[in-house]
Amino acid sequence: MEHVRKVFKFISSMKTGLVVLVLIGLVSAIGSAVFPRTFFETLFFKLLLLLLLLNMFLCTVNRIRLTVRSLLAGPGRKVWYRNWGILLLHLGIVFILLGGMMYSAYGQNNRIHLAAGERVNMQRVLDIEHSFTLQLNEFRIEFNEDGSPSQYVSEVTILEEGQKVKQVAISVNHPLNYKGVKAYQYSFGFMINAEYVAEDGEEKSGSFVEGALLQPGGTERKVKIFKYIPNFNPAHGMNTVTLRPDNPRIIFSVYEGDKFLGVGAAAFNEPVEIDENVNVTFTGVEPYTVLEVKHDPGLPLVLAGGITLMLGVCLALLTAPGRKSNNDHR
């Protein structure tokens, strides 16, 4: 029993806590310089965080007794604020660490690509209990006067069992939050519409990803769709001047077998002659959105922890007595 007490005392002591804090600081500094990203995923680092959690949890529990006692004893108001502040601030950190652990254990992330009219059942991308479907109605980019993007917006409809539930706009800084699933405007891209006569003589029109290879009929030549450039200027090469489609072009290249024949920048609806009497026409682009979807059961706890921490730190430090009172040493 005496041993258990000693171990408990050691793990919950402030000295141990401070050593762990310093250790975390040191290894984070080295980790971020030497192995950016990967270091913070390692078991070693996670164990350190777990140790901090354990230590802070125990010392916070100890602190609750102390704080309640000070509440009953009724010392000066400033000491009262300070004790509650210190308690809340440590409790907040404990919540954040717990919430973060819940994310490591049960959190899920995925990315979905949707063009206008497409839909996805959320249970297909996240392992969640509640089923619902997201349908993209429109993806658009809004622009500033100088042609730089001011906002990326995905207009979506949420459906449950085929019924429309509601319509929302997901944009940067305005994620969707629905039944424990959050969806963020993450990225976007363009499918390129092209028309040509295929090998079987059929008039073909379709949407293609950048990098797609077209095989028109009546020639050995192939067309590679390289890139969509919304505002083309030869002086900028393959980079668009702005994202706004002021001068849209499709960059394509032509091959015969493995042999590269040339590269061009085609305007929309302007037939491009690939070979004698063989044309490909790029008719436009179709934007698609990329949404990051996330299910994080720890998020409410982390948020509560953040708020508790902010509240605690303000109470403890900004209302503290002018001089340190030495009577609350522990």
Binding site: Q151, I307, L317
Partner: protein, 262 residues
């Protein structure tokens, strides 16, 4: 307005530089008149500096906190402001030289980075349009400033002229800085969650802000302990300040990441 702003920023730089030199001179010769002139220059610089911030705000229609240069401009101003307010109430003039020279250095770096041109206006990218981001950056700027002044007090306390400075005042600044840095980190995490879907991703800026936060936390815990006061506490405050500098300059200008929006 561009030309006027360039002139003003050089005016600010020279006021701070001269104020710093006079403060140091006052320390060496212990002449009260030096301190008086230094104070006048610091106030003049601070007022000019404020005018610059107002002009920048009128120019862009946003608080001057939307990129690295604007942040530096605000950070340097708040540093001087905190020093002036504190020196009005407490005996801390001995640290005036260090604080004013640090502020002058920040203004100098700003001029070096931007070529003195403060009139460039670019619209905000969508990710930066968030009220969370605004409070995140304001709290960070004031926290950094408080840590800078605290470091000024710490440095001068190593010298005989600084012995009149009360350790308690340095502690007060660290406490305020720590509280604000805590708010800043949490608010930044809330913003990151809204904008990118992750409240913490161990990007270099986040990691180094956390390390900075931790050293001041260790300082605050140890401060209860008598044997950790004095020089040990001062060293921690100075190292904390160097970490603040690295978190800002090192990460913004040396390492890539989400935060390098400068």
């Amino acid at each position: 307005m561009g030309n006027i702003m360039t002139v003003i920023i050089y005016g600010v730089l020279f006021s701070y530089l001269l104020a710093g030199i006079l403060y140091l001179g006052g320390n060496l010769k212990s002449k009260a008149s030096f301190f008086k002139y230094a104070l006048v220059l610091a106030v003049v610089g601070c007022v000019l500096h404020f005018a610059l911030l107002v002009m920048r705000t009128l120019l862009t229609g946003m608080l001057p906190l939307t990129n690295g240069s604007e942040f530096l401009l605000t950070f340097a101003w708040v540093t001087v402001l905190i020093y002036l307010i504190l020196s009005y109430r407490y005996e801390i003039q001995a640290a005036g030289g260090v604080v004013m020279l640090l502020s002058a250095l920040m203004v100098f770096v700003l001029i070096a980075l931007t070529g003195g041109s403060l009139h460039a206006v670019a619209p905000l990218m969508p990710a930066l349009k968030s009220p969370w981001l605004t409070v995140h950056v304001i709290t960070a700027a004031v926290a950094y400033s408080a840590f800078t002044v605290a470091a000024g007090l710490a440095v001068i306390q190593f010298f005989p002229v600084g012995h009149g400075i009360k350790e308690h005042h340095m502690n007060l600044l660290v406490k305020c800085g720590f509280a604000l840095l805590s708010l800043s980190i949490v608010l930044g995490a809330i913003w990151a969650e809204q904008a990118w879907g992750r409240y913490w991703s161990w990007d270099p800026k986040e990691t180094w802000a956390l390390i900075t936060w931790l050293i001041y936390a260790v300082y605050l815990h140890l401060y209860r302990n008598r044997e950790w006061r004095g020089n040990n506490a001062r060293w921690m405050v100075i190292i904390g300040f160097l970490l603040v500098m690295f978190t800002f300059f090192g990460v913004n200008y040396l390492l890539p990441g989400l935060h390098s929006y400068a």
